[in-house]
């Protein structure tokens, strides 16, 4: 008869991945630092500003996505079309004045994304499927209404969004401010706490009587407002907007959230992590650009960063649960 016990067998190897992961991570960070320091002109104030500016637009949208992801509804794949549509609205409303146009843009953005959130929250629709459908619908409506043409600003007020108080782009201040607000909301409000709980275990949250539908919808509403802010800045920066304004923003935002170490499964993560993720990706692109690598290589490295962080986060959580 086999008399060996199954219990101790599982204990030893659990810790290993944690250590290995730590080691790999440390090496990667060291390599990145060495690479950065040896890159000509990386350590300049001008370059630091450039990195933050590049990170700012994606970063603001990624903050919105962070709310969605922490709340357990994975991702929205309709960020680019929402930003394009809101950007077009923002520019064509310039004749009303900058403030009115901003308010209108945020309202529309909140509505577009909040509606999707309501369906995800109350009807438990699959967010991926729903947002794919929504992105087609939004692009279709935007194309139909605009006739496919590019929207030009109807007045010059938008240019104030391109301002550089203190030599740093306004969008950078806005990114940092919003990151702090979102972080505070997540940590210090009942809404934030519910969101973490719902994200970790939706069934348990439902059984505990938490308002799962409402909180999910509110998270998406907030995300919609943040997408709208991105849209206003992007449209102002490009001075024109059409249905392609969003570009690769959907996946850039997802990449920033994941690179920050927020797991796609929900229940964990933070706004500051996302901020770090956005800056990390911008810095990596910057190093590659300074070293003269092509756009293709930059995109590939972005993918590698996301992959490494996702795998690391996964292994570490598994290790800590054992």
């Amino acid at each position: 008869m086999n008399v060996m016990s199954a219990r101790p067998r599982s204990a030893a190897p659990i810790r290993r991945p944690g250590l290995v992961v730590d080691g790999v991570l440390l090496l990667a960070v060291l390599a990145a630092i060495v690479l950065a320091l040896t890159t000509d002109r990386f350590l300049t104030v001008a370059n630091a500003k450039a990195i933050l500016t590049s990170a700012s637009l994606v970063g603001i949208a990624a903050l919105g996505l962070t709310l969605i992801t922490i709340g357990g509804s994975a991702v929205s794949l309709a960020i680019s079309p929402s930003v394009a549509a809101v950007g077009m609205i923002f520019l064509s409303a310039q004749s009303l004045g900058l403030i009115a146009a901003l308010v209108l843009a945020v309202l529309c953005g909140t509505l577009i994304t909040g509606l999707q959130g309501a369906v995800v929250g109350y009807a438990a629709a699959n967010p991926v499927v729903l947002t794919i459908a929504a992105s087609f619908a939004i692009t279709g409506i935007a194309t139909g209404v605009s006739g496919g043409s590019t929207v030009s600003p109807t007045a010059g007020g938008y240019d104030r969004l391109n301002a550089t108080p203190g030599g740093v782009a306004l969008s950078v201040y806005v990114l940092i401010g919003l990151a702090l607000i979102v972080e505070w909301t997540l940590r210090r409000t009942g809404f934030g706490r519910s969101l973490y709980l719902i994200g970790e275990n939706r069934r348990a949250a439902r059984a505990a009587g938490l308002p799962v539908g409402r909180m999910t919808a509110v998270a998406w509403l907030g995300a919609g407002a943040l997408f709208a802010v991105t849209a206003a800045f992007t449209a102002a920066f490009n001075t024109s907007a059409n249905v392609n304004l969003g570009g690769t923003l959907t996946f850039d935002a997802i990449a920033a959230v994941l690179a920050g170490g927020t797991p796609i499964s929900g229940g964990r993560g933070s706004a500051l992590r996302t901020l770090a993720g956005a800056v990390l990706i911008a810095a990596a692109s910057d190093i590659l650009l300074l070293r003269g690598y092509s756009t293709g290589v930059q995109i590939m490295v972005k993918g590698v960063i996301v992959l490494v962080v996702v795998v690391t986060v996964h292994l570490r959580t598994r290790g800590s649960r054992a």
């Binding site: 709980l197 505990a208 009587g209």
Partner: protein, 508 residues
């Protein structure tokens, strides 16, 4: 049937400990070819550990398992399967979206992927015929079959592995009487073909009606193996209970009639699970629903908490109607629910203890939707004291706690709501050690003393007798009997395992 001589399966002095708990202590019994052998015992008697060892899911500390004289080393379920031991689990493992034939071939290691269907057609056909599914087409999607027929497919699949020993673990627990009859017929047919069958069941009627011999376990040891002809329901219960726990209960609960009913449930039905359940709960008292798996006790609690969309009935808290199927409505009305599945439907395992305790109380610890540190820590301190948890560890994740302490957190969360009027607990001490159990019992009694009405489900006789002021027994979805006063453990067990006396069922 004469034992020993033609024994096919022999279980010899099996022992298994988990930590300091000795789950099985030197269990021995034998099963002959063609015999239907029942394994009975109350919860925690060690039945399921024996089943796990026989099917390769646990390795015995000592002892031997022999089939046809040879000693088997069952290191895994696959090895057990190859050795001719097939297990049909409590949970159905058939796939509704596949066809009957595909289900029969699932996990069959001899079958090749290519061209399996045509080659194995006749063999599968005979498998179906063996379990009385002659009318079912091999290419029919399984989703077209009823739940009883699916159970039979499961049995047929087990037979298809050339089983010499077929283990059925509570195969009829969730089936209706008619559906159960199909299973009995199939089991008889399989036994007639020369297979040894180990039949684990809580339903004593079917044990006496179907099986040849009965092995009863108690506290990890085998009490006796008896020919079924020498047994009655009552003698079987005596074997299962030993000196029956029969103690006069401390009636600490508030005296009846002191105030009106907090919770009244009338005509509650869950299709296929519960029929016409009614009960009124008074504050200050602890009520118990006693029922085995499939009795509907758990479904009553879930439906009352609003977690069963298909439930219908009249649920009122303090006379105000609560819409069934809406957990938020139930929570607002003051119903707190503690699920029996604390991992997937209860706790937020990776979150701190404090978050878990206060998850349902967020509105009362926030001011203008912002968390108020003072209120937060005040409420938390109260709750931690109430639950008897370590106040210094509230920042640790719940995952780091023992099962008993996790359950305390879960129960405590339900208790802590100042607006909670009714506390529902589905099997609150499942997987909890003795110390934790006593602590949870104290929590429930305290809650009742503070004016809540407590309703829990359990199969544990001591728990039912010690804790509950009122015990309602359930069997197959209906209430058997309500016991307001003293009651003997054997009576409860009889009602839980056999329902209201139905002599026709006792004998074949």
């Amino acid at each position: 049937m004469s034992p020993a001589a033609e024994e096919l399966v022999r279980v010899d002095q099996l022992t298994k400990s988990f930590g300091s708990t000795r789950a099985v202590r030197g269990a021995s019994f034998g099963i002959a070819a063609g015999e239907i052998h029942a394994l009975c015992g109350h919860n925690g008697a060690g039945k399921s550990t024996v089943v796990k060892m026989l099917s390769g899911q646990e390795t015995p500390d000592s002892g031997a398992i022999r089939i046809g004289g040879g000693v088997l080393d069952l290191r895994s379920r696959q090895v057990a399967q190859r050795s001719g031991i097939a297990l049909v689990d409590q949970e159905l493992s058939v796939v509704p979206s596949l066809t009957v034939a595909e289900n029969l071939m699932l996990g069959d290691q001899r079958a090749r992927w290519l061209n399996r269907r045509r080659a194995s057609g006749p063999r599968l056909r005979s498998l179906l015929d063996n379990v009385g599914l002659g009318h079912v087409d091999l290419d029919q999607p399984l989703s077209e079959l009823g739940i009883g027929e699916r159970q039979l497919i499961e049995i047929a699949r087990a037979l298809g592995q050339d089983a010499r020993l077929l283990i059925l673990d509570e195969p009829t627990a969730t089936l209706s009487d008619v559906e159960s009859e199909y299973v009995y017929a199939a089991v008889r047919a399989v036994a007639a073909a020369g297979c040894a069958i180990l039949f684990v069941s809580h339903r004593l009627g079917e044990v006496l009606g179907l099986c040849d011999r009965v092995t009863v376990m108690r506290d990890g040891a085998v009490v006796a193996t008896t020919e079924v002809a020498d047994l009655t329901i009552d003698s079987l219960i005596v074997q299962m209970l030993g000196e029956a726990p029969h103690r006069s209960r401390k009636r600490t609960g508030g005296e009846a009639g002191k105030s009106g009913e907090v919770l009244s449930v009338g005509g509650l039905s869950v299709p296929g699970r519960v029929e016409d359940f009614s009960l009124g709960l008074r504050p200050g008292r602890v009520y118990a629903l006693a029922g085995q798996l499939g009795s509907g006790a758990s479904d009553v609690l879930r439906a009352t908490a609003g977690l069963v969309p298909a439930a219908a009935g009249d649920i009122r808290v303090d006379g105000v109607v609560v819409r069934p199927g809406h957990p938020i409505a139930a929570a607002r009305a003051g119903i707190a629910f503690v699920s029996n599945d604390r991992k997937s439907e209860g706790l937020f395992l990776d979150k701190p203890i404090s978050w878990n305790l206060l998850a349902t109380r967020l509105p009362s610890v926030t001011r203008w939707a912002v968390l108020d540190r003072q209120r937060w820590s005040a409420v938390l301190t109260d709750l931690v004291g109430l639950c008897g948890l370590d106040g210094g560890r509230t920042g640790d994740s719940v995952r780091s706690l023992s099962g008993g302490n996790q359950q305390k957190v879960f129960v405590g969360r339900g208790l802590g709501r100042s607006d909670a009027r009714v506390l529902l607990l589905d099997d609150p001490t499942r997987g909890v050690d003795v110390g934790g159990r006593a602590a949870i019992h104290r929590l429930l009694r305290d809650a009742a003393d503070r004016g809540m009405a407590v309703l829990f489900s359990s199969t544990d006789l001591e728990e039912l007798l010690d804790l509950a002021d009122v015990v309602v027994t359930m069997h197959k979805g209906v209430v058997v009997q309500r016991h307001d006063g003293d009651v003997a453990g054997s009576v409860l067990l009889r009602e839980m395992t056999h329902g209201a006396a139905a002599p026709a069922e006792e004998r074949r």
